[in-house]
Amino acid sequence: MKNILILVILTFSTFLAFGQNIKDIQIKRQKAFAIKNVNVITMNATRTFIENATVVISDNIIQSINGTIPKKSYHY
């Protein structure tokens, strides 16, 4: 039991130590983003270039390019 407690304290303090820089500068780690009106150099196999596109990202994945922007979004 004592060992588990020590492990929990160590894990938590390590997390705090690691996380400090990130917290200080308030990086946006949000679930969803939409980049509007952007020129996309896709670098895909056919080198597609998309002008004035909207790129929607959710959970760190590109969900759509020129799809619908989620409701209740706010500007950054």
């Binding site: 390590t14 997390f15 690691f18 996380g19 820089n21 990130i22 500068i25 308030q26 990086i27 946006k28 780690r29 949000q30 679930k31 969803a32 983003f33 939409a34 980049i35 509007k36 009106n37 952007v38 020129n39 996309v40 150099i41 896709t42 670098m43 895909n44 196999a45 080198r47 596109a53 790129v55 929607v56 990202i57 959710s58 959970d59 760190n60 994945i61 590109i62 969900q63 759509s64 390019i65 799809g67 922007i69 989620p70 409701k71 209740k72 979004s73 706010y74 500007h75 950054y76």
Partner: protein
């Protein structure tokens, strides 16, 4: 129908360009240092702040790196990033295998080579790096075993192949890690030699990562240590490494007019190699060898892209060498390397178009990395904070004092 959370942040991309996050296929990430005797219970003499190592990388939009001499500590760095404790790039890990008494895993027979590959596979490495002191039979066995284990190989062409370079191009030799690996086999840096080398690579399906920037830096610091002292990116390097680069610089120590002249000719030959390899259809991958004195991770990839364009790649080809093409060689092109639905959002928002001028990859408005959006102001804040602390701590770290602890 994609389901979104209630709130999404909207970023205005008007007048801006979005490109995939960049891949540096040749870095050496610093890990904790043991200058005295290394014992099982001993703490290191020097522990790097992991965020400080990663900040220059992500601030430059480099969202994936291939570390070519990984240790168990590099596994820890990778894990900390994946868990979100640190904002950093994706890290692919290569186990370095060398012969004689060199660094990394040591193998001096074919059987030892195969064992080291299997150990590396079991430990979780993604790639095998071949180093200079391997003998021919061990080198061949490592490449063969790595292929059997599903690991690609990248590296130097061992010294044992002097005078018989063509024998190094065995099936499944994945990528040559420096243009220098070819130039050291050329007596007169001729176009005929460049064409011969390109044919060897093309016929064997071996890629080239020329690391042009490394040799430019080596020539510059051989000529004058001021090239490092006056570098605008030096302040982002840990003070101990700054001290090493400035006070224990072997390149500069080996200065002779003849040596400098040779290096300058070699730099020119490397540019020629890139052009000839491109014309021969050899895939060229962007890598920097960051960690070599003067070569600062993150910033150096933009230097490399510029040099690749100077050598004859178009800006789009240079960008490809650090995005989709690199992801394909790494075997992760289904996940990253281009902006496509379903891929990870490793992205750079640029203020200017990099296809019209490759220098515009430096004009970063923001970076998406590991689920984080970091805009220009925050990136600049992170860099300024790092530089400030490095300057404040400069006098606390002296390379020669640290080295004196070695027995």
């Amino acid at each position: 129908m994609v389901q979104f959370p209630k709130k999404a942040i909207i970023i205005d991309g008007k007048g801006k360009w979005l490109i995939p996050g960049l891949i540096d296929a040749h870095v050496h990430l610093p890990t904790d240092g043991y200058f005295g005797q290394k014992l099982p219970t001993q703490i290191p003499d020097l522990s790097f702040d992991m965020q400080d190592i990663m900040t220059p990388i992500i601030a430059n939009g480099v969202t994936t790196v291939l570390d070519l001499n990984s240790t168990m500590e590099t596994f820890g760095q990778k894990k900390a990033i994946e868990k979100g404790y640190i904002v950093g790039p994706r890290i692919a890990l290569a186990a370095n295998i060398n012969g004689d008494k060199g660094q990394g895993k040591i193998a001096n027979t074919a059987e030892e080579g195969r064992i080291m590959v299997r150990i590396a596979k079991a430990e979780g490495y993604d790639f095998i790096k071949l180093y200079s002191k391997l003998n021919i039979e061990t080198y061949n066995a490592i490449i063969d075993e790595a292929h059997k284990q599903g690991l690609k190989t990248i590296g130097h062409i061992p010294n044992a192949f002097e005078g018989k370079l063509e024998q190094a191009f065995v099936p499944h030799f994945g990528m040559v890690a420096h243009a220098e690996e070819f130039s050291k086999h050329s007596e007169n840096f001729s176009i005929e030699d460049a064409q011969k080398f390109a044919k060897l690579s093309k016929d064997n399906g071996t890629y080239l990562s020329p690391t042009l920037t490394t040799m430019v830096w080596i020539a510059n610091q051989t000529n004058s240590i001021d090239s490092i002292k006056n570098s605008p990116t030096l302040k982002y390097v840990h003070p101990l490494l700054q001290s090493k680069w400035l006070t224990a610089n072997n390149y500069n120590k080996n200065f002779t007019v003849k040596n400098l002249s040779y290096l300058e000719e070699m730099v020119k030959f490397h540019f020629l190699l890139v052009k000839v390899f491109k014309d021969a259809g050899v895939p060229i991958i962007a890598g920097t060898d960051a960690g070599v004195s003067g070569v600062v991770a993150g910033f150096s990839l933009h230097d490399e892209l510029e040099l690749l364009v100077q050598a004859g790649l178009t800006p789009q080809e240079a960008l490809n060498s650090a995005t989709l093409l690199s992801a394909q060689w790494l075997g992760i092109d289904k996940q990253i390397g281009s902006i496509e639905t379903g891929k990870y959002a490793d992205l750079i928002l640029l203020d200017k178009n990099p296809i019209t001028d490759i220098k515009n990859t430096r004009k970063i408005a923001g970076v998406f990395v590991n689920g984080n959006w970091i805009d220009k102001n925050k990136l600049n804040f992170m860099l300024a904070d790092l530089a400030k602390r490095n300057i404040e701590n400069k006098d606390k770290f002296d390379w020669k004092t640290m080295m004196s602890k070695r027995k």
